[in-house]
């Protein structure tokens, strides 16, 4: 491409990105003459240059836009949103033409007559009779914006210590500019394009084309006071990125060579090279640092597009949105910057589209009409943190849950055990979108998963905090640079490896002579460290570097040849160190080192044979054929020239089976844990034709095998003498014919499920008991047949889950009623059962009913509160914890906080029962905490709690 054109494109796209921002600002402060002047000048520059380069289409659009801006500036046309939109539209057209230019070096075909006509109309629109165009002062031809890199030329700006060319002093800074100036460009040559910006009173920016300096000589700025804020840090030079990258590579090589020299010097104490080498050392370090800095860019560059984006969105969506950007100067590696640009834009767009509500909704929710999207960037601990916060509606748990179930990402039963936070994490799953309608802005279902993948690709993490009704905050943590990391060099099995220093917490010397001892539990090493047990991973074993008799299945089998080779080599090279360390660890005596690493919240120890020093290493990606070994994150060349693999602590944790340690895996882990917890033991039986039947095992008191001959008929129902009493029997199959069954001499026995409560019991006759399975179930309710709760897939087959309550009443119509009689129960307790899952409601209600409680069940905490407000009273409340909307903890607080029910005891029923959960439950006001599906514990807890309350009363 023509150098001149290339330079023009670079510069113009820079100008355009500044214009985007400035125009949005202008809309907010329409009467800022400084801003207007600046905008005008930028557009004018574009127009002037394309006239010079012979780009008529571009020129005509820019000219029409400039006209309108001129009128703005002269106060002849009011700055309105509509007018700004029009100008932005013309900028978009300019961008479109520019991209065409870049591809073909020709202006793309097209007609902008309509746009130009509208621009002209806008320019004339409000001017009464002012026919003569306002005299346009000519500002400096070259206005180069600061915001770089967002360009087609792929260049980077670096600060320059001294101006390379002397800036011409403006003759009369105050004077309005004079002549029509066409910028002069030096004849293009092959040298790289450098664009210098030199501070001056006026904003004059000479252009150096490969050293030949062609100044926009004599150009004066219309208004010397117009200093763009961005031009304060103005000593910069434009260097092409490949050049910098090359420089970076060379410096890396230099550093490595320096390290090599230093290592040689260590063995030669008295050498005349010592002093010069020290200087070389320092200079190299500084050089490296300097070159690293050239890669750094303020994050503001990635944000440059956002004001325009938000502005357009708020117009499109009829919302009022403010964008606040904090920490724009925070610097990070250019490469990282490029990679997070798109995810950031996406997330901001999401916040504006999904997060911020319509103004009337906001007012209704008691918020200010205008929503705020806040971006905040700062350094913390070698990472850049970027927060994207909005004060919108937050993530709606209910909608998300619904979507999760619809999309088959999890079952209802699984969700019941998840916290709100965990449910919210589902938005990072592929193919998930909660937007009710696909807008042209977002909601296409590709999104957050891509965002997360992109961020994780560069070693970052993304966290989500959201409170429904109050907004969402995303926190992105990304490493400062991907290029150079400090790493600890360790040895295992005769090979050296690098562990990134950032994940190393401490080094512990363990073994005989040390205070720390490695203990073995069933062959698994653990370390006692400051009153904590630390799980240990043996690196040699993990990497199959040694054969070990008591291999603890840490790893899959090694590839045969490799292991043999490894063994041979380690035996040959380091017979003592390698073998010795292994024995020592196994024996729990002797010395070895434990590198304590931290991945997310999880700390673990890595046993290594030796620890060397730390070294700055240049991370290089591993060859494609090695990419699937997740234990390595890259490789590098050490000071001594040898190649070394870089260990990935995430990968180590994953390889040892500890998945779900990194943030990224938290959700998956939580799920697997949940589904563990949510397992329900079900008794499967067959009766009559059709699908197998299932009943929760918790409801069944005993299983009996009875002889049909023992069945008697009393008062039209079947009974059997059972433990000295008469137990009513109900055939599950309604068509069961006792007489006919007795004829069948072959099969005189039947299985009976005994449901019991105190001294009462009933038997359900079934054909055959198949199995007891334990698995998470999701019942699809069908209200069609009495006696059946619904169907579920159990043990791979569609199975009817039966409603035991139905059969209980069938056996004894007054089963539930009698228990309230004073003879058996002094007083029937009223229980309010709150659980969002129909399955659990249906399961627990019979348990409680059978136990003599009068049960009222509701599906949400809100309904429960509604009952309270309606004047209902209960003796005790049993509530689930994880519920959509108000969860159990909030519910308990409400109950205890209100006056009417404040003395009503409340028992938590949850599948989560860690000590932490218990504590939290107590704090929220729960009197007791029972695990779901523990029938006896629940009943025990209820009677105990009631007794306590009665005792206290």
């Amino acid at each position: 491409m023509d150098d001149l054109l290339g330079e023009f494109l670079t510069e113009t796209s820079d100008s355009l990105s500044v214009l985007d921002i400035e125009l949005v600002k202008l809309e907010q402060t329409p009467n800022d003459p400084e801003l207007l002047g600046n905008i005008f000048r930028l557009v004018h520059t574009i127009k002037g240059t394309c006239g010079f380069l012979g780009l008529p289409r571009l020129e005509s659009v820019a000219h029409a836009g400039e006209n309108v801006l001129g009128k703005f500036r002269d106060g002849e046309v009011e700055v309105t949103a509509g007018a700004v939109t029009l100008i932005l539209e013309s900028l978009d057209t300019i961008k479109m033409i520019l991209s065409g230019l870049e591809e073909t070096e020709k202006e793309p075909e097209g007609d902008d007559a309509d746009l130009i006509a509208r621009l002209n109309a806008a320019a004339k629109g409000n001017i009464g009779g002012a026919a003569a165009p306002a005299p346009d002062p000519e500002p400096a031809a070259q206005a180069d914006p600061e915001a770089a890199v967002e360009d087609d030329f792929d260049s980077i700006e670096v600060p320059v210590e001294e101006p390379a060319a002397e800036a011409p002093k403006p003759a009369g800074a105050e004077a309005p500019a004079v002549d029509d100036f066409q910028p002069e460009f030096a004849a293009p040559d092959s040298a790289p394009v450098i664009d210098l910006k030199i501070p001056g009173q006026a904003n004059i920016e000479p252009v150096a084309s490969g050293g030949a300096v062609a100044l926009a000589g004599g150009q004066e700025v219309a208004d010397a006071s117009v200093h763009r804020e961005s031009s304060i840090a103005n000593q910069s030079i434009r260097v092409s990125v490949p050049l910098l990258e090359n420089l970076m590579t060379m410096v890396s090589e230099l550093v490595l060579t320096r390290n090599q020299l230093l290592q040689i010097m260590r063995s030669q104490k008295d050498s005349e090279f010592v002093t010069p080498l020290q200087r070389l050392n320092h200079v190299t370090s500084e050089l490296q640092e300097g070159v690293m800095k050239t890669r750094m860019q303020p994050i503001g560059n990635a944000w440059a597009k956002l004001p325009r984006l938000i502005r357009d969105l708020s117009q499109d969506l009829d919302k009022k949105i403010n964008l606040k950007m904090i920490g724009e100067d925070t610097e990070l590696d250019r490469q990282v910057l490029e990679l997070i640009k798109d995810p950031l834009t996406h997330m901001v767009r999401n916040s504006a589209d999904h997060g911020i509500e319509q103004p009337h909704e906001r007012l209704a929710a008691g918020k200010s009409e205008a929503g705020t999207v806040r971006l905040n960037a700062y350094h913390e601990g070698g990472h850049i943190h970027i927060e994207i916060a909005d004060d919108g509606r937050g993530l709606p748990i209910e909608k998300i849950s619904k979507r999760i179930v619809e999309n088959g990402l999890a079952t209802e039963a699984e969700l019941a055990g998840l916290s709100d936070q965990q449910i919210q994490q589902f938005i990072f799953r592929a193919g998930f979108s909660t937007a009710e309608a696909v807008t042209n802005v977002s909601g296409r279902g590709v999104g957050m998963d891509v965002v997360r993948t992109n961020i994780e690709k560069i070693g970052g993490t993304v966290e989500l905090k959201s409170t429904e009704g109050r907004g969402s905050t995303f926190l992105i943590k990304i490493p400062l640079t991907l290029a150079i990391v400090s790493a600890l060099i360790v040895e295992a099995g005769g090979e050296r490896f690098a562990i990134p220093q950032i994940s190393v917490v401490e080094l512990v010397k363990a073994g005989g002579t040390s205070e720390h001892v490695i203990d073995l539990i069933n062959g698994t090493p653990v370390l006692r460290l400051r009153d904590r047990l630390m799980p240990l991973v043996s690196l040699p074993k993990l990497l199959n570097l040694q054969s070990s008799n008591e291999a603890t299945d840490l790893l899959p089998k090694p590839v045969e040849g490799e292991a043999a080779d490894a063994e041979a080599k380690s035996a040959k090279d380091k017979p003592k160190a390698a073998k010795g360390a292994e024995t020592e660890v196994d024996a729990g005596a002797g010395d070895c080192f434990v590198v304590v690493a931290q991945v997310g919240a999880y700390a673990f120890g890595v046993i290594v044979d030796r620890v060397f020093d730390t070294e700055e290493i240049v991370v290089k990606p591993v060859a494609p054929i090695l990419r699937d070994i997740e234990i390595f994150s890259g490789n590098t060349i050490l000071g001594d020239g040898s190649v070394i693999m870089i260990l990935d602590p995430n990968g180590i944790a994953a390889a040892t089976g500890e998945v779900g340690l990194a943030d990224s895996r938290e959700t998956a882990d939580a799920e697997s844990r949940r589904s563990e917890d949510e397992r329900v033991a079900l008794l499967l039986f067959r009766s009559g034709a059709g699908a197998p039947k299932a009943v929760p095992l918790a409801l069944v008191a005993r299983l009996e095998d009875i002889d049909l001959e023992k069945i008697e008929t009393s008062n039209g129902t079947m009974v059997i003498q059972y433990r000295g009493r008469l137990m009513p029997l109900i055939p599950f199959d309604g068509k069961f014919d006792l007489a006919a069954a007795c004829q069948d001499a072959e099969n005189q026995r039947r299985s009976v499920l005994v449901f019991a409560d105190g001294d009462r019991s009933m038997g359900l006759i079934v054909d055959e008991i198949i199995d007891i399975v334990e698995q998470p179930i999701s019942v699809e309710l069908t209200g069609e047949r009495s006696g059946v709760l619904g169907s579920a897939i159990i043990a791979g087959r569609a199975t009817d889950v039966i409603d035991s309550g139905y059969y209980l009443t069938k056996a004894n119509r007054d089963w539930f009623r009698t228990s309230s009689e004073p003879s058996t129960r002094t007083h029937q307790r009223r229980v309010l059962l709150v659980d969002d899952s129909p399955f659990f409601l249906n399961m627990i209600t019979p348990i409680l009913s059978v136990a003599g409680y009068s049960v009222t069940s509701v599906a949400s905490a809100d309904e429960a509160i509604a009952l309270r407000d309606a004047g209902e009273d209960f003796d005790i409340i049993v509530s689930d914890i994880e519920m959509p909307g108000m969860d159990g903890f909030q519910f308990a607080e409400q109950v205890k906080g209100g006056d009417r029910w404040s003395n009503t005891p409340i028992v938590a029923l949850s599948s989560r029962s860690s000590p932490l959960d218990l504590d939290r439950g107590r704090q929220a006001g729960f009197n007791d905490y029972v695990t779901k599906l523990d029938r006896d514990a629940l009943l025990e807890s209820l009677s105990q709690t009631l007794a306590d309350v009665r005792g206290a009363a």
Binding site: P242, E245, N246, M248, T249, S252, E253, L256, Q335, K457, L482, A483, G493, E495, L543, N544, L545, P558, V559, E560, G561, E562, D565, A566, K569, V618, V619, K620, P621, V622, A623, P624, I625, L626, D628, I629, I631, F632, S633, G634, N635, T636, I637, G641, S642, V643, I644, M645
Partner: protein, 166 residues
Amino acid sequence: MSNLVPAGGRSLAVTDDPAKKATVDYVTVMIDDQLFGIPVLQVQDVLAPQAITRIPLAPAEVAGSLNLRGRIVTAIDVRTRLGLPRRQSSERQMSVVVDMGGELYSLIVDGVGEVLTVQENAFERNLATLDPVWRKVSTGIYRLKEGLLVVLDVSRLLTLKGQEAA
């Protein structure tokens, strides 16, 4: 992941189907007494034995990685790749460095010979009776006076088991 080292301007064109040209140049290498040819334009370097860092958990064919003037090169043991017995440590070995998609690989062979210019009409497609692995990694065979020259297809040679789908 950072790739600070640009691939460089030396990315070499892969030779066209040998059958279409009048003559083709091959770097000849010897593996287990069989003559192989690697298209000369794909060869970057020929190396004497080097210090190689073994890579644990890597496929058996991967001998390790080495430092070639500041670039990390993955070493592939062609014997293992071809299913031949391992080299005795006393036997000599050489390496041919090839470029594949901007990455360098060092192919460990028994010996490297001269560059041979062969006539395309001496080319024959692989025989069906050849070992499946060999058939996969070679494009064909040249009938030469000195014997038969098996042409190695570098890209297929570097596609290891389990990665073929990728």
